[in-house]
Symmetry: C2
Subunit: 278 residues, 2 copies
């Protein structure tokens, strides 16, 4: 992929970000990562709704869906999509530029950035047998007001991800400072206990992804009682099944955390099949 | 000031930051703000030592002092300094560029950015009578590992600073979630109780500024017992004097927080005089 044709800043092929952009100076912005198929963002209504909500949560007026869709069509021309080909689109919205100082100017023009990258190729074993998680020593801080938002302040995720280099590890499990399970560095997590499918409460920290929300909405389809709850690592390790999810890979079963192993089961495949109709 | 001559990125007059720079995508970097006088950064040894320590805390190898000093001399030619003139230099060091994903590449080249701005002109009343603080509703999260570091994840400061527009307010007081006083959005804080000069403990959150450290080191000069302690807002409001400090303005007395007022006293002026010899 030609890097110079791989990003748009405010609708123009990349000229770079200003050193005055508050996304750079303070992480003052939000982002989303999504799959592009046949020139279209998969699950766009969910992504755009979340982007608007995350912008609003920190006082940024999100660019219109029309403008972002126009950017996406410029960066991902339909002619580039061979049959079945996928790309990844990352959309970053910042508060825009300002002089030095935390106070935003009374009028700011948000910066919109779209970055194109190749779709990761996940090994067949991830689909067949599941993925292995590392338990991170890095603990998530309880932000309250910033909880759930996919903002640009991601140093915790970076430090957590730096804890392992073993390529057998797919993702790292993040706990909060009270030792509750919250999420993984790049995915949300669910644990099935019998008829209950539980995902951690994210009211104090973590990123509330759209795939997580969509799985929560699947109660009837799955004949499972899906719900949000506080859950400890010890409880998680007692689950009948554990799955992780995000907008790129969809859903994978977890086959190992620490010394706990789970044999192959059905849930991840069932949810993947439901989402395959997106 | 000509904006195009007002910043250097890796030693070159600004071409902008890459959209792949991890400072932009994750806030994966650190920064410092300092005063430039007669072409030289004031208190440079303290600033550089802190920059190296903050880089090390998140696993970045800080560029050499020689390289940064060379950048500063390029951006702040001595000929531009009229007698007594000051500028502000902001140095940002990021982990460098990478493709999408929290894992840093095995080899990264840190990005160094220097931004020049005019020195703020503080009103005479700030020196004569002191400054007024707002008590922020935004609470600082307890990060532990990130505490004390002046990193680029500054959304809390931005949200806190957005709480007031009243120009009579100089800065906002930040508490943690246990209601301890920690700092202000752009300054550290000290409270004098008789012979004791106390500054909040920053082992869980906050930025440990160099001016704070230099005041802590002034015990003998000031004939005060300077020390770090946990302190509540109620305790702070009982102090005989309160001062705030940073690398630009040095030290100001606090004259008002909420309904509490302090009459003019000596400490801020004494410390300003000590630092005037820098």
């Amino acid at each position: 992929m030609n890097r110079h044709q791989s990003s748009l800043v405010n609708g123009s092929f990349e000229q770079g970000i200003s050193v005055y952009d508050r996304g750079f100076t303070y992480g003052d912005g939000v982002f989303r990562t999504m799959r592009m198929r046949e020139g279209q963002p998969v699950s766009w209504p969910f992504h755009y709704q979340k982007l608007v909500a995350d912008c609003a949560a920190i006082g940024i007026v999100c660019p219109s869906a029309e403008l972002l869709m126009s950017d996406l069509q410029t960066l991902f021309p339909i002619t580039e999509f061979a049959e079945g080909a996928s790309y990844v689109a990352k959309i970053i919205i910042t508060r825009g530029e300002s002089e030095r100082g935390y106070a935003p100017p009374s009028v700011t023009v948000p910066t919109r950035v779209i970055v194109k990258s190749v779709m990761p190729q996940y090994p067949a074993v991830h689909y067949d047998q599941g993925v292995q998680l590392h338990v991170c020593e890095t603990r998530l801080a309880s932000h309250g007001r910033l909880a759930g938002i996919k903002h640009l302040n991601r140093l915790e995720n970076v430090l957590a991800r730096m804890e392992w280099r073993d390529e057998k590890i797919f993702d790292g499990l993040l706990l909060d400072q009270q030792q509750h399970v919250i999420e993984c560095t790049m995915s949300n997590i669910f644990a099935r206990f019998g008829n209950e499918l539980i995902t951690p409460d994210l009211t104090q920290c973590g990123v509330a992804g759209i795939t997580r929300q969509r799985i929560l909405n699947l109660s009837k389809t799955l004949s499972l009682n899906t719900r949000v709850a506080k859950i400890s690592l010890e409880e998680l390790l007692q689950a009948d099944e554990v799955i992780v999810c995000n907008s790129l890979f969809g859903v994978f079963q977890v086959c190992a955390i620490c010394d706990k192993f789970w044999s192959q089961s059905q849930l991840a495949g069932i949810i993947r099949n439901i989402f395959a109709h997106d």
